[in-house]
Subunit: 275 residues, 2 copies
């Protein structure tokens, strides 16, 4: 399988501490040696780094452990290939543009039969289940709305789409449109929110301790999401299987869906691949 | 303005020598200090590096001057902003997926009125003329063909699209779909092809000399395209203004267009923005 790391923050935040531990799971403290990638949002812009090398030994990962890129949303992935060979085009996170926004997606799990779900606007470049699922999500969004909908409608519809995908197998995923970090937990995902009063934390995978009180302002709020806890002395919350999380400005949202029309998600398998 | 660097090769080739000279033009030997970016194709996969910092002083550029990524197609750009503020989302090269391929684009010049040309399938994320032009090209392709056409048809249609764009101002550009490197010269672009018997070359912007005979096989063919020559002791060919080059496998192609139906390029300004 693979592991996921995500971050949502209300101010541009340095992810190096979390990434230092996480990246060792790519071939040292974990078996996920079939490539890795990380996307950093800076406003509407997004830059991604990808490497089919194991993150624990990658020169690019070493640079990112040392080089402070400050970002409000980050999505990272270390891969253990199951479907799709080890190759750059199969390395998460995947990216596409929709409605003039940069969308990024990383997935852990397998989705049986997903490749039979038809696509219209977006096509996979590589051969993974995951990229097909990402293209299907964006296809459904683009089919429904020609321009960006309200966050409330988008949150609601994405939750529905994730539930559909979850029926195919295991769908732990992180997704962002540069404004919101969406997370779906199929089997295993946890998170923690750091805010004032800040304490200290020690990585599990590496001998590194940080006192966040020294590094932050009292108004900073940061949520870190990961497949498994990254620190040994903080309380991580396990996300319930089948849950969908919406994170904005560092906080887990509980968007009310009252009053929203029930959305009839088209059943992709039944839909013809319209020309 | 900006400067462009491109490479097409018949085997995965290390671009560090050319990039070492080119990247110094981003703030040291040249004034293009408003960000830089570089895309490397590896098969169907493509990875890009972007930095709004000047390339001459960027930590990421330093890594790429030292780290050998072997690629058959490379597109790089150093930016001197004219339209669009200095920001990650305005940093070339831009990327999109079309027909399951990764497309990459970098541009030098200005295109008056381009932002009034309607778009349907692709939207800019940033605010540059260049990204709008890129989206327009892809929109025209996607409107014409739902799946990848033959190289001959694609070459021909892209040449027509570039001519149209060139009417708006200055359109020096590099574009790739992972198979071909397309170049349009509006004012200034030059190239050289290195093949056996290989000689030596010395950079203009940095004190570095390479003997390619030591680094290559006799069957290797590499063409480097740049706004200005990068070496002092090789013969660079100036591309004629208004010309369109097609490079595959390291070689400049002269595709025959005999027998191809004349393509009526839709006039974007007149076309309604169909929902």
């Amino acid at each position: 399988m693979c592991e996921l790391l995500g971050m949502s923050a209300n101010v541009p935040t340095d992810i190096r501490f979390s990434f230092a531990g996480f990246s060792r799971r790519g071939g040292e403290t974990g078996p996920h040696r079939d490539g890795w990638g990380m996307a950093f949002y800076e406003g509407k812009g997004c830059r991604s780094f990808h490497d089919p090398q194991p993150s624990a030994r990658s020169d690019i990962a070493r640079l990112l452990r040392e080089y402070p890129i400050k970002s409000r949303i980050v999505i990272a992935h270390v891969r253990r290939a199951n479907r799709g060979r080890v190759a750059l085009e199969n390395t998460h996170p995947f990216s596409r543009e929709l409605w003039g926004r940069s969308w990024t997606f990383a997935h852990n799990g397998q989705l049986k039969g997903i490749k039979r779900w038809p696509l219209n606007y977006f096509q996979p470049i590589g051969t993974t289940d995951s990229e097909h699922a990402f293209c299907w999500i964006l296809d459904q969004l683009r089919t429904r709305w020609r321009t960006l909908p309200t966050p409330r409608h988008l949150d609601f519809f994405l939750r529905e789409l994730c539930s559909r995908l979850n029926e195919l197998g295991v769908f732990n995923m992180l997704l962002s449109d540069s404004r919101t970090l969406y997370c779906h937990c199929s089997k295993r995902l946890c998170y923690l929110t750091r805010c004032a009063p800040f304490g200290a934390a020690t990585l599990i995978d590496e001998d590194w301790r940080v006192d966040f009180a020294q590094e932050t302002l009292p108004t900073d709020v940061v949520t870190v999401v990961a497949t498994r806890p990254l620190t040994r002395d903080e309380v991580w919350t396990e996300v319930q299987p089948g849950s969908f999380l919406v994170l904005r400005e560092g906080k887990v949202q509980n968007p009310s869906t009252d009053g929203l029309p029930s959305i009839d998600v088209p059943i992709a398998e039944a839909a013809p691949n319209v020309p």
